[in-house]
């Protein structure tokens, strides 16, 4: 089954100067249910735009987005979205932040809190349930954000460079936790994970999608990642299979990165 489909989707912006800037052009993608897909590309290639369009936060300028076969009209109610920046509500405690999705859906307070407590335990923050986000470390805030997203049972999970602000070790820990969340239970959710880090993309995903340098980014290539699961992220990066895959994807990605840097140099002049 196809969980998420983009059908010749383009998205343009008005620049402050009044020109139209085409972020993504004519992207067609089908992402099958239960798969973990990573989207990589040079900076400014419209990765976030792609995700925002898939989330329904921005309507496509042309083309159609379908979530589980239904054409999107407004927000994507089949998906959750984990943002690159901190998106927790600073005035709510960890408990209330995690319970928020249930509260909004009208669940009674007691049962919402009970389920939130389970999720807080799952991400290992039971001791911090009454803390406010400002009292937590960056990694802890990301765990809260994961729990906040995963507690509402939606089949599609969109993630926009969620761990890019973390240090390398915390990041690896979070990646491991993300994989174990995704892997447990009977029905896997569909994850679309945007990152600029090819290593992270290969380590996590079933498939890596490479976008071209902007403007008017499109899909350059799609690579299946045939690495076995469950994966040990501590060891994986040094295995031959990983390194081979990295080399072959990087040879394509590198060209786009170079193009994007040249483009920036031209714009800077």
């Amino acid at each position: 089954m196809i969980a998420l489909e983009l059908d010749r989707v383009s998205r343009e912006y008005q620049t402050p100067a009044g020109n139209a800037y085409r972020a993504i052009a004519d992207i067609s993608l089908q992402i099958s249910a239960g798969s973990f897909v990573a989207v990589v590309g040079p900076s400014g290639c419209g990765k976030s735009t792609l995700l925002n369009v898939a989330a329904g936060l921005q309507p496509p300028t042309s083309g159609v987005v379908r979530a589980e076969g239904r054409e999107l009209n407004g927000l994507n109610r089949r998906a959750t979205y984990m943002f690159q920046q901190d998106a927790l509500l600073p005035w709510k405690s960890v408990l209330d932040n995690v319970a928020l999705g249930l509260t909004l859906a009208g669940h009674p307070r007691v049962s919402a809190h009970a389920r939130a407590d389970e999720w807080i335990a799952r991400v290992g923050l039971s001791a911090f349930r009454s803390h406010y986000p400002s009292q937590l470390s960056g990694g802890m805030r990301k765990r809260v954000a994961m729990a906040q997203n995963w507690i509402i049972d939606r089949p599609i999970v969109l993630m926009d460079e969620p761990f890019s602000a973390l240090d390398v070790h915390t990041r690896q820990l979070m990646e491991t936790e993300l994989l174990s969340l995704w892997d447990e239970g009977t029905a896997r959710r569909t994850v679309v994970f945007v990152t600029h880090d090819l290593e992270e993309a290969i380590a996590l995903a079933d498939e890596v999608i490479v976008l071209s340098a902007g403007p008017a980014s499109g899909v350059v290539a799609r690579y299946p990642v045939p690495l076995e699961r469950p994966r040990d992220l501590m060891e994986l990066r040094t295995t031959t299979a990983f390194v081979e895959l990295y080399k072959s994807i990087w040879s394509v990605l590198r060209e786009e990165v170079v193009k994007s840097q040249q483009g920036e140099a031209v714009r800077a002049r």
């Binding site: 109610r77 943002f83 901190d86 998106a87 927790l88 509402i152």
Partner: protein, 255 residues
């Protein structure tokens, strides 16, 4: 923690020192005839006057009226200001339509309105409340408007993705976000509410601190004027400290 405690104590000590130095200089200036007591009175006389007012109880009913007017002004002005601030922040079209009118109204000096309010609402408390409202409203309005517009875009998107309706968005994000701004303006609003009430009383009333001060002025009783000002300032300081505590509680999530 220790360093913080030391700092707080030293701030308190210096606050006290500044006050004492000012009062002492004033007292000395009058004693050595550098200042004319007819125009400047004396701190000791002023303190004695406040003491008399408190001990014979005559000040309380005036104070009670002024506080009632200020509080009503603060409540009504805040309610209208917050409601309209919210409304216009969520409706950019209406905001653009009303913008010049709001600017114009805010530019009207409130003293000019006082006689009108006396005509419209009479000599009782409501003409003073109205004056308070015109002052408090604008502070609250501008801060709420700014606070709602200032709400973090990412948090708003996140909460919408989590399933919030427009009303839930207001309740869970926009209002708490605006609360920071509303609270930072509450100290200003509180002062304005008192100013509105006292100016109203000053221009025409039968009781209230403004009335007391106006009466004293009418008989060139500078001691009475300064005593009235002292009571007024003390009350603002006490209520302001209460607001600070409330603010600290409601904004406890801030780092």
């Amino acid at each position: 923690m220790r360093a913080e405690g030391v700092t707080r104590a030293s701030v308190r000590a210096w606050q006290l020192a500044v006050g004492v130095a000012f009062v002492a200089a004033w007292q000395a200036g009058v004693s050595f005839r550098l200042l004319d007591p007819f125009f400047f009175s004396r701190p000791s006389d002023i303190a004695a006057r406040v003491g008399t007012w408190v001990s014979n109880g005559s000040i309380w009913r005036h104070l009670a009226v002024t506080l009632e007017e200020s509080l009503l002004g603060l409540l009504i002005g805040s309610a209208i200001g917050i409601a309209l601030g919210f409304g216009l922040a969520r409706s950019p079209f209406a905001a653009r339509v009303l913008d010049p009118y709001i600017t114009m109204l805010n530019a009207v000096p409130r003293v000019v309105l006082a006689p009108l309010f006396l005509l419209w609402f009479g000599l009782g408390i409501w003409s003073k409340v109205a004056l308070s409202v015109t002052l408090v409203f604008f502070v609250m309005f501008f801060n709420t408007y700014q606070g709602v517009r200032d709400a973090d875009r990412v948090i708003v998107d996140n909460v919408r993705m989590l399933g919030a309706t427009e009303r839930q968005l207001m309740r869970h994000v926009l209002f708490p976000s605006a609360l920071t701004w509303i609270f930072s303006s509450l100290h200003t609003s509180l002062g304005f509410a008192m100013v509105g009430a006292v100016v109203g009383e000053y221009l025409g009333a039968a009781r209230g601190l403004g009335y007391v001060i106006a009466q004293a002025e009418g008989t060139f009783d500078t001691t009475g004027v300064f005593a009235g000002m002292t009571v007024l300032s003390a009350v603002v300081a006490i209520v302001g400290a209460g607001v600070t505590r409330l603010e600290r509680y409601l904004l406890r999530w801030k780092a």
